[in-house]
């Protein structure tokens, strides 16, 4: 019997019923992720990246195939697979602290009230948002909201951290600041991460592996490239390392030569 990886996707096919019959979003995806590995999923819009992430989160049920986490089959959503949503999805009627607290209360069984509060504040401090604990999401900028979204996810002590294009809606400078936050967290916590991104630099800078997906429908994994940059990483040092340029070039060739954006082809 073969030994499964920490996170193993085996033959994941996802089909959605539509008016024009069944739409196959993903076609037999196999993916193995080791514990502590940071995997970036990249591909053009509509290639089913989000569907794949949602399948791991348990929000989408695969039509065929199975997902294993630490040897156990995944078939429902749960706090062991925390999600950082693209739109941050903070609850606007709760303060920043209460938003994180809601997640902590569901995952910190056995901890006392004061321990929970401390844990909430600790995680907010990790993303430098301790100062805004009493504020509501509506009073925060997009970047700050997403920091809280990240704090909420890591406060759940997930076995896998799923990030669905977490910085897609942010401007370039805010995005860079948040990438630094993620790199810092990765250096401290060494989470197992699955992150969707559109951004080649983001993928190469943050990830140990860049998994490139072909264009949908019936998307598959086209290429899987390791990024062997030393950790902890630093934006300024990384750009001068040949491996960074090579990995970047590989991803760009994949996205813009082998599998061009279907939208630009149509235009």
């Amino acid at each position: 019997m073969k030994q499964r990886s920490y996170l193993a996707l085996e033959g994941i096919t996802v089909e959605f019923p539509t008016k024009a019959g069944r739409f196959r979003a993903l076609d037999g995806i196999d993916l193995e992720v080791d514990k502590g590995q940071f995997v970036a999923l990249i591909g053009h819009s509509g290639c089913g990246k989000s569907t794949l992430l949602n399948a791991v989160a348990g929000l989408v049920k695969p039509t065929r195939g199975a997902i294993f986490l630490d040897g156990q089959i995944v078939d429902a959503p749960g706090p062991d697979r925390a999600v950082v949503f693209q739109d941050h999805s903070l609850l606007p009627w709760l303060t920043v602290e209460e938003n994180v607290r809601l997640a902590v209360d569901k995952t910190a069984g056995g901890k006392s009230k004061s321990e929970r509060k401390e844990w909430v504040m600790h995680n907010l401090e990790l993303v430098q948002m301790g100062h805004a604990a009493a504020r509501r999401p509506g009073e925060l900028s997009g970047g700050m909201k997403q920091r809280v979204g990240i704090a909420r996810a890591i406060a759940m002590n997930p076995r896998v951290l799923l990030m669905d294009e977490p910085f897609g809606a942010l401007d370039a400078l805010t995005r860079a600041a948040l990438q630094d936050v993620v790199m810092d967290l990765q250096a401290r916590l060494n989470n197992t991460v699955l992150m969707i991104t559109h951004d080649v630099d983001e993928a190469v800078l943050l990830a140990d592996r860049v998994v490139m997906m072909t264009n949908g429908p019936a998307a598959r994994i086209g290429e899987d490239r390791a990024v062997s940059l030393a950790r902890p990483r630093n934006r300024l040092e990384a750009i001068d390392v040949p491996e960074y340029a090579d990995a970047r070039s590989a991803v760009i060739h994949f996205l813009h030569e082998r599998y061009r954006n279907p939208a630009t082809l149509a235009a």
Binding site: A57, G58, L59, P77, G78, P79, R81, A82, V83, F85, D87, S89, L91, W93, L102, A103, K106, M156
Partner: protein, 318 residues
């Protein structure tokens, strides 16, 4: 010892620029003396309370002007002795007693409150009777309406089963329920309350249901990832997310229940502001009717504002 020039350092150059008159040398004005100050116009300090009152006055002024204009126009239109409709002055003269003694027959103390049963009761007494009916019927409609709204908002099966029924029943006018209500309850008081209930409940149900159905998928996904149980989902996500819709329904509902009570009391008689109108009409006291209309309008407006305010407070707290 040379005494220092009064112009300071500018002294030597000053004489060069000065002109000579009969009286001597006029020194140019020393630069230091030209105050480099900008004279900002200083507004008189305004007390915050004063400022607030000014703001209120500014926002109320158009309303007041409109009111005075309307009354003047009305007086002009109906002022002649043979006018069929009473003028404002006539209303004031003929219904003077109704206007200045609204609490006749009402006994309000710190610990007790009662309205004289029957007889000569002031308009406020009738309004309070109507309000107590609205309070009971509307509270029931709010509780049942929110519960039913959550049910059909949450369950597709329940929605498909009940929504057509609700859509048909909500178009039935309040007065059409009266015979049915009387047949069921036999008595005036419970039938009036049922009438309020059945009129106010539809907007509460339908708006609450819409609120539940439009909870963003993002919040539902958060609930799934956090593995909230149904009770936690209800209290932490569904209720706070639905509060704005709920209060839209409750606000429409309170307005409709006020409409219904007046109609119901007009037919049933006895007490209440609706009865007052019917009674004054039958006694050909049109001016009393006009006073009652103003009372109804103001109370209805107040009810709407109270529910809206409650919605804001709860929306902020939840």
């Amino acid at each position: 010892m040379a005494s220092p020039s009064p112009n300071g350092k500018k002294g030597p150059s000053a004489s060069a620029g000065g002109s000579t008159t009969e009286l001597g040398v006029i020194l140019p004005y020393p630069e230091e003396a030209i105050a480099r100050r900008s004279f900002e116009p200083v507004a008189a300090p305004v007390h915050p309370l004063m400022r607030r009152m000014r703001g209120m006055a500014a926002s109320m002024l158009p309303t007041l002007v409109m009111l005075v204009g309307l009354l003047a126009f009305w007086q002009l239109l109906c002022g002649s002795p043979d006018a069929v409709f009473p003028s404002p002055l006539k209303v004031w003269q003929e219904s003077h007693d109704v206007i200045v003694h609204p609490f006749k027959g009402v006994d309000i103390g710190l610990t007790h409150f009662s309205i004289q049963n029957g007889g000569d009761v002031g308009i406020a007494g009738h309004v309070l009777t109507s309000l107590s009916r609205v309070l009971i019927g509307y509270s029931m409609a709010a509780v049942v309406g929110v519960a039913l709204g959550i049910l059909i908002g949450q369950s597709v099966f329940a929605f498909r089963a009940l929504d057509p029924l609700f859509q048909v029943l909500r178009t039935v006018p309040p007065l059409a329920w009266l015979p049915i209500s009387l047949a069921i309850f036999q008595q005036a008081q419970p039938s009036a309350i049922f009438l309020i209930f059945i009129t106010a409940i539809w907007p509460v149900i339908l708006n609450t249901a819409a609120g539940v159905q439009t909870i963003p998928a993002a919040y539902r996904n958060v609930a799934k990832v956090l593995a909230l149980n149904p009770f936690e989902y209800f209290t932490r996500i569904m209720l706070p997310a639905t509060v704005p819709h709920m209060f839209t329904g409750l606000r429409i509902g309170v307005g409709m229940s006020w409409l219904a009570i007046v109609a119901a009391e007009m037919v049933q008689g006895g007490t209440g502001v609706g009865f007052f109108i019917w009674d004054s009409y039958n006694s050909s006291l049109l001016t009393d009717t006009i006073v009652a209309l103003i009372w109804i309008g103001i109370v209805g407006f107040a009810l709407d504002r109270i529910v809206a305010f409650a919605g804001r407070v709860i929306g902020r707290a939840s």
